[in-house]
């Protein structure tokens, strides 16, 4: 670097007492829209940009795959979500015999739902269109209204309540409604982890980018490990690390911190899940940003250096603006992922202290055996993700439009 410094002649255009201005200038020179515009206007490259046939041949297969693997199943789920089905049953007194142990059996006689049969002896199956009923039972808007409207003017002892108590009461009752409680932690997780993974991923990328070349490969590999590990295994490892007398708890005790119980309340469990999320997703941000760092134009960096921009200014005015698109990409993907958080919630004592929308869907599917309601829950998740991504998608759309 210092050698180039000497070789590069100072530019006249930029006065040395205005390094900020020069940085802005350099940035605009290399802005994405300019590059794309040049590409399209240049007669040599124009043909490539306009060739529809090439475009279709290139995009066609992925469009087909998206229709087949995403659109069709999604339509199927949407279809299920507005229907319901069950076998018609009636309560009948049934004698059942089950084994106890060592040759003994137990007979019970009780009223058990049994199928109603048609004239051919087949169970009658009810299949009905239910409109938004499944959505209503999942999202429970009635429960939400009730939770908000509940009379909280007096405490259980008859004392008048303070504003804070009333607010806390609303929070408590709203989050007690399954869907809204799940939504609360899902959003909390998504919004707390995002800045952390961006900052940590960027720092990591800068660090790896600055170490000697031979060490980069191994470093990248090690940094990627948390992301390679399957989420359920990762979550289990964290759970096992923080159990009673597990390594972390035992270590803290040895260090004189006393006995720490990480799984005993909402705060510590939520912190652990968020830490897990940061640990698991930072490598993703890192690898994208590291790749982006390789494309930072070296001459603008050098120009800035010549103009007297210090290290922080170069990061602030050249590197970060250059990576903006990647930052939005990471936010986009991570918000989508975070909204579907599932494994850690399952591993850390399910839904008592930290629930998620994806867990709610699993619960309806697995324990209520209700595919239709689970479909509604899944559709609500998709809608939620769309709403969450709307601002970012709008921004990207505007940028693209600005190009054309």
């Amino acid at each position: 670097m210092p050698r180039r410094h000497i070789l590069t002649p100072p530019r006249k255009k930029v006065t040395s007492n205005k390094p900020m201005l020069s940085a802005h200038l350099v940035r605009s020179l290399y802005s994405k829209s300019d590059r794309v515009r040049n590409f399209c206007m240049n007669p040599e490259t124009r043909e490539i940009a306009m060739n529809l046939k090439n475009f279709l041949a290139f995009v066609g297969p992925s469009v087909l795959a998206m229709v087949g693997l995403i659109a069709v199943p999604l339509l199927g789920v949407a279809y299920l979500s507005i229907h319901s089905s069950h076998v018609e049953t009636e309560l009948v007194e049934v004698k059942s015999v089950v084994p106890l142990f060592g040759g003994l059996t137990k007979t019970t006689i009780e009223k058990v739902p049994q199928p109603v049969l048609d004239e051919n002896g087949h169970p009658i199956k009810v299949w009905e269109y239910v409109g938004r009923r499944n959505f209503d039972t999942v999202a429970d808007p009635g429960g939400l209204v009730e939770a908000v409207r509940k009379d909280r003017s007096k405490t259980a002892e008859g004392q008048p309540t303070s504003f804070r108590q009333r607010m806390y009461g609303i929070y408590r009752d709203v989050t007690d409604v399954n869907f809204w409680g799940a939504l609360e932690f899902t959003l909390l997780y998504a919004f707390i982890t995002t800045p952390f993974i961006l900052v940590l991923g960027f720092i990591l990328a800068m660090l790896v980018n600055n170490v000697v070349k031979w060490a980069r490969g191994p470093l990248i590999f090690c940094s990627l490990l948390p992301h390679i590990i399957t989420p359920v295994v990762g979550s289990l490892s964290i759970y096992w690390l923080f159990l009673d007398n597990a390594i972390v708890a035992a270590l803290l005790e040895q260090l004189g911190a006393g006995k720490v119980y990480f799984l005993k309340d909402a705060f510590s469990i939520r912190t652990l899940i968020i830490l897990y999320g940061v640990w698991h997703t930072t490598p993703f941000a890192f690898v994208i940003l590291y790749a982006g760092l390789q494309t930072v134009p070296q001459d603008s960096l050098q120009a800035a250096e010549v103009d007297g921009a210090n290290y922080w200014q170069r990061i602030r005015y050249i590197i970060i603006p250059h990576l903006t698109a990647l930052f939005s990409f990471i936010i986009l993907i991570h918000l989508m992922d975070a909204y579907r958080i599932f494994e850690p919630v399952l591993v850390f004592g399910s839904n008592l202290f930290a629930n998620s929308l994806q867990y709610l869907t699993y619960y309806i599917l697995n324990f209520e055996d209700n595919y239709y309601k689970a479909a509604a829950s899944a559709i609500l998740t998709v809608i939620g993700i769309c709403i969450l991504l709307l601002p970012i998608l709008r921004r990207t759309y505007r940028e693209q439009k600005g190009v054309a």
């Binding site: 084994p99 142990f101 019970t108 009223k111 408590r172 009673d244 799984l263 202290f353 697995n366």
Partner: protein, 411 residues
């Protein structure tokens, strides 16, 4: 590559417990597909069934932890991809109610002698045989015999005695908590509620209906007892599942727990346990002196799909090959087998005592999984101090009623 292959093969050999040597000489042609949960005794059964994979017979066996969801959906299909599935008290009821199980009376009569089918293996609903059971499991009292002797404590038979013993054992320094419990919020917690609630003598449903009856005095009493017990457990209790409690025991951290019989043999596993030989097993404590123990008995068995596309006769023969007397004899200690050839030992003592003292089977109604789910999802709020017992029971009740209405169990 060769090295990896060798390692993989060696690992596979280690995973499959004692291989069964019973030769399979079932003749015929056809394909039989089986789906089951995945644990040691089922691996043994799977190996035995797969021995029939010869000549014109093809046996496919899928062991998966997600067997329940897959079975439910496969059996509901017009042509079920599986002929036989393994399940238990909670799986059979919804399938039977939807008319998706094939009664096996004809096959049982035909092959009763050939495969030594015992009456105590048959799961009957009404007149029909819907499943052939092979093992039982139940939660019962595990306790540290050495500590009980040291403090001169008698084995508790009621929960009042358990609380008294726990209070005494607080002074014991070698352990951290007198009690352990499978109180992980969700399925485990609801299972403990069911155990205790049923032992109070109360019913889950209002007589003759599918309406819930646990939002009641007895329900509150159950929750209050659970809260008292939790005071003697680790503060992490609501996040600890069966395996975590088993490990607490193995590490010598706790002195008592109501734990699954299938984990008993693990207490003496020298490689894992610091308390090998020091743990004994007794019947689950009851709510009142002489009352039924607070536990429920679970059976595991195989049943047949109504919509199977294979040959029921062949499928039944393959099934019985896996559940044969030879399999039980060759793997006596793998689980608590139901066949009379099984020799009960130390590890089945607790389950045996609980069954003899009148522990009820886990209820076999199709809507029970919704009751269980509603409880598991809500009673933790009370135990964590977020709600009153009544509030959490009301939430559990509401969740169940909604789910049951959608399924047509409540009109």
């Amino acid at each position: 590559m060769k090295v990896i292959l060798t390692i993989a093969m060696a690992a596979a050999l280690l995973i499959v417990p004692a291989m069964v040597t019973a030769d399979c000489n079932i003749q015929g042609t056809g394909e039989v597909n089986v789906i089951s949960n995945s644990y040691p005794s089922l691996e043994i059964i799977a190996a035995a069934m797969k021995e029939c994979n010869q000549g014109g017979v093809k046996v496919g066996f899928k062991l998966t932890k997600e067997h329940r969801e897959e079975t439910m959906q496969a059996f509901a299909a017009a042509k079920c991809p599986y002929d036989i599935a393994q399940g238990s008290n909670s799986t059979i009821a919804p399938l039977q109610t939807d008319g998706l199980l094939r009664p096996m009376n004809d096959l049982v009569d035909k092959y009763r002698d050939k495969y030594k089918i015992e009456d105590a293996m048959l799961i009957k609903i009404g007149k029909e045989v819907y499943a052939i059971a092979f093992q039982v499991n139940a939660q019962h009292l595990f306790y540290r015999k050495d500590l009980f002797e040291k403090h001169n404590i008698a084995v508790p038979t009621t929960y009042d005695e358990v609380l008294a013993v726990a209070e005494k054992l607080k002074a014991e320094e070698s352990i951290q908590f007198p009690l352990g419990g499978t109180y992980k919020s969700g399925w485990n917690l609801a299972q403990e509620f069911m155990n205790i609630y049923l032992a109070t003598g109360a019913d889950i449903f209002k007589p003759g209906t599918a309406m819930p009856a646990y939002n009641s005095e007895k329900g509150v009493q159950t929750l209050e007892l659970m809260k008292k017990l939790m005071d003697y457990m680790s503060p992490n209790a609501l996040a600890l599942d069966t395996t975590a409690v088993m490990q607490q025991f193995q590490q010598g951290q706790i002195a008592m727990a109501n734990l699954w019989a299938s984990r008993a043999v693990k207490m003496d596993d020298q490689a894992e346990s610091k308390v090998a030989g020091k743990v004994e097993f007794a019947q689950a404590p009851s709510m009142v002196k002489g009352g039924p123990p607070a536990t429920t008995l679970w059976w595991d068995g195989f049943f047949m799909a109504q919509n199977m596309d294979g040959d029921p006769d062949l499928a039944f023969k393959i099934m019985m090959q896996g559940l044969s007397e030879d399999v039980v004899k060759a793997n006596n200690d793998a689980t608590i087998w139901l066949r009379s050839a099984y020799k009960p030992g130390r590890y089945s003592a607790g389950a045996y005592a609980s069954a003899m003292a009148g522990a009820p089977p886990y209820p076999m109604q199709p809507q029970i999984s919704m009751v269980h789910a509603g409880l598991g999802n809500n009673i933790g709020d009370f135990l964590a101090g977020k709600e009153t017992a009544r509030e959490s029971l009301a939430d559990a009740e509401k969740a169940y009623i909604n789910a049951a209405k959608e399924k047509g169990y409540i009109k």
